[in-house]
């Protein structure tokens, strides 16, 4: 079984966001670039399926500039068999453009499962997975928190308000991973050495015209300075009074 895991390279969650000179994008100066954490969860789940089945292939795919190859190399070190780099010079292409490029690559590639993270932790759009499913006319389950594969059929649970939806899906299918699905492994030294010999295929990304245009990136207004109400238990009655009379929050 071929599984494809789509991985976005993002700024590490420790990053303090600064706005680039163009006023529309993240200033990349000093940023540490990592795989989107949810995509690593998806990769881990795909690797476990391959290990359980004792055969199959896991392919990591990423859209981006030359820098994404470090993230793909890390996916290979975790255990992916090969990688595809869809090259683009466009900074932060919109979700539909990325979905079009991925769908073009995946069409006819024979993948039974196409994995994404539930969203990227940079633009938080949560769109590309279901958009690829739509472009390829595949079923899709988003925000998958638990997953079983039996007899060519997937049962997935997705978190919704107040509970979980249990969804049955026929293969091939697109799934997006929620935290808790699988704890990503660290690349072993052996894996890192093996990754150096694994192939990364490079080809141009066929993005298409943008469907969403970022016109500004701004920092949020700072919160007004708060106050320390007091120390310890003695502060509680004053806190309750402030919450009730000043903030009208209780």
């Amino acid at each position: 079984m071929i599984q494809v895991v789509c991985i976005k390279q993002v700024a590490d969650t420790e990053t303090r966001v600064r706005v680039a000179a163009d006023g529309r994008n993240l200033d990349p100066t000093g940023v540490t670039w990592v795989a989107n954490p949810y995509d690593e969860i998806a990769l881990e789940q795909a690797l476990r399926i391959r290990e359980q089945q004792g055969s199959g292939e896991v392919v990591a795919v990423s859209v981006g500039g030359p820098g994404v190859q470090t993230t793909l190399r890390n996916a290979l070190a975790m255990g992916a068999d090969r990688a595809i780099h869809l090259k683009t010079e466009r900074i932060a292409p919109d979700p539909l453009s990325v979905a079009c490029a991925l769908a073009e690559e995946l069409r006819g590639a024979g993948a039974e499962l196409v994995w994404f993270g539930k969203q990227a932790v940079d633009d938080d759009q949560a769109q590309v997975g279901p958009m690829v499913a739509e472009r390829l006319d595949l079923p899709c389950v988003t925000m998958v928190a638990s997953f079983t594969l039996e007899g060519g059929r997937v049962t997935a649970e997705r978190e919704v308000e107040g509970g979980r939806e249990v969804v049955e899906v026929a293969l091939p299918a697109v799934l997006t991973a929620e935290k808790g699905l699988a704890e990503p492994r660290y690349a072993s030294l052996k894996g890192i050495m093996a990754a150096k010999r694994k192939p990364i295929e490079e080809k141009p990304a066929r993005l298409g015209e943008p469907a969403l245009e970022v016109v500004a990136l701004e920092l949020p207004p700072p919160r007004g300075a708060g106050k320390v109400v007091g120390q310890g238990v003695e502060a509680v009655s004053e806190l309750v009074r402030l919450l009730r009379e000043e903030a009208r929050a209780i």
Binding site: D123, Q127, M131, R158, V167, E213, V215, P220, G226
Partner: protein, 325 residues
């Protein structure tokens, strides 16, 4: 100009997010012009005429017995059919679990842009500009739509419902050619969370605990305060990664981004990822023994002290207040 709103129902009831989205739709319609309509896929009419009071002039109802539960392909087909019938310039969804799944499918089928989880919409010279937090709230992005219709999903608990109009919406059937046999993904059942708890993203009040609680059992203190306040329980990433709480309760950059009216952070130092996820709360209270903890920089009200003393005292004070109201 017209605006279409996806009307989300579950178990035959229209969800509260729909009134929030209709509220923003009516405000936009006042600037952009044009009527506000709804599209509701459902097994039967969940009382759609009542949405007139919330701002909808008409609601298209696509009925199918398979629409009792969310069905991505069927719902996509119904919403696309409504868009083709009404030709709206703007289509709005709630950024709920359902809306976040459905909106990208609709956008991809139409080949148009979508802005997810918006916190403001504005009409700038007739063109829609969506404002949305990115990096879990560390920055704010503004996006425009080169193609029509513009699609946006709106963050729960941010937009106010419209003032009641006292009118009823016209409910009109919309035919779809949905074939459930051909569906390749099907919701087979809904596993309810214990006690039917309010989801973090939809809670008015949240009490969150972190590593300062020292042991998972001590989250009882958080739960008791949450119960007194009628709040949902949240947790820091540290508490979730330690296995103390389920990840569905995690607030922050790899968890949920929340904007409640009141957020109480207990024993949470305030890592940058956590602050990103809760800084848009209307009122923030921090209880922490370390006066230098970063959480105090975003808190409206801070109490420096031992949470094992302060939290039970606060719970008691809130209970007394409740008893007197």
């Amino acid at each position: 100009m017209s605006i279409l709103v996806f009307v989300e129902q579950r178990d035959g009831r229209v969800r509260s997010i729909v009134r929030e989205v209709l509220g923003e739709a009516t405000r936009l319609a006042a600037v952009l012009g044009g009527p506000v309509a709804g599209i509701c896929p459902a097994a039967s009419d969940p009382g759609l005429a009542a949405l007139g009071d919330a701002g909808a002039e008409r609601v298209l109802l696509a009925t199918h017995e398979a629409f009792a539960c969310y069905d991505a392909s069927g719902y996509t087909q119904a919403v696309v059919a409504a868009i083709e019938a009404l030709k709206p310039q703007v289509v709005l969804f709630g950024a709920s679990a359902m809306g976040r799944d459905l909106a990208p499918r609709v956008a991809a089928r139409l080949g148009v842009g979508l802005a997810t989880d918006c916190t403001a919409l504005a009409a700038d010279g007739g063109r829609l500009i969506a404002t949305r937090p990115v990096f879990a709230g560390k920055a704010i992005q503004k996006a425009a739509f080169p193609r029509s219709p513009a699609l946006a999903s709106l963050r729960p608990k941010v937009f106010a419902p419209a003032a009641p109009s006292g009118r009823a919406a016209a409910v009109e059937p919309l035919a779809t050619s949905f074939d459930p046999v051909a569906a390749r993904a099907k919701v087979v059942r809904m596993a309810a969370a214990a006690g039917g708890k309010v989801d973090l993203t939809e809670a008015d009040v949240i009490v969150s605990g972190g590593r300062g609680l020292k042991e998972p059992q001590n989250f009882k203190l958080i739960e008791e305060l949450a119960e007194a306040l009628g709040a949902a329980v949240g947790a820091s990433r540290a508490a979730v990664d330690a296995g103390w709480r389920p990840h569905s309760e995690q607030v922050g950059q790899t968890g949920k981004t929340v904007s409640p009216k009141l957020y109480v952070a207990v024993g949470i130092s305030g890592a940058i990822q956590h602050l990103a996820g809760m800084s848009s709360s209307r009122c923030i209270v921090a209880i922490n023994k370390d006066p230098e903890a970063p959480i105090f920089k975003v808190a409206d009200y801070g109490v420096v002290g031992d949470l094992f003393e302060v939290v039970p005292a606060l719970t008691e004070a809130v209970k007394q207040l409740n008893a007197h109201v």
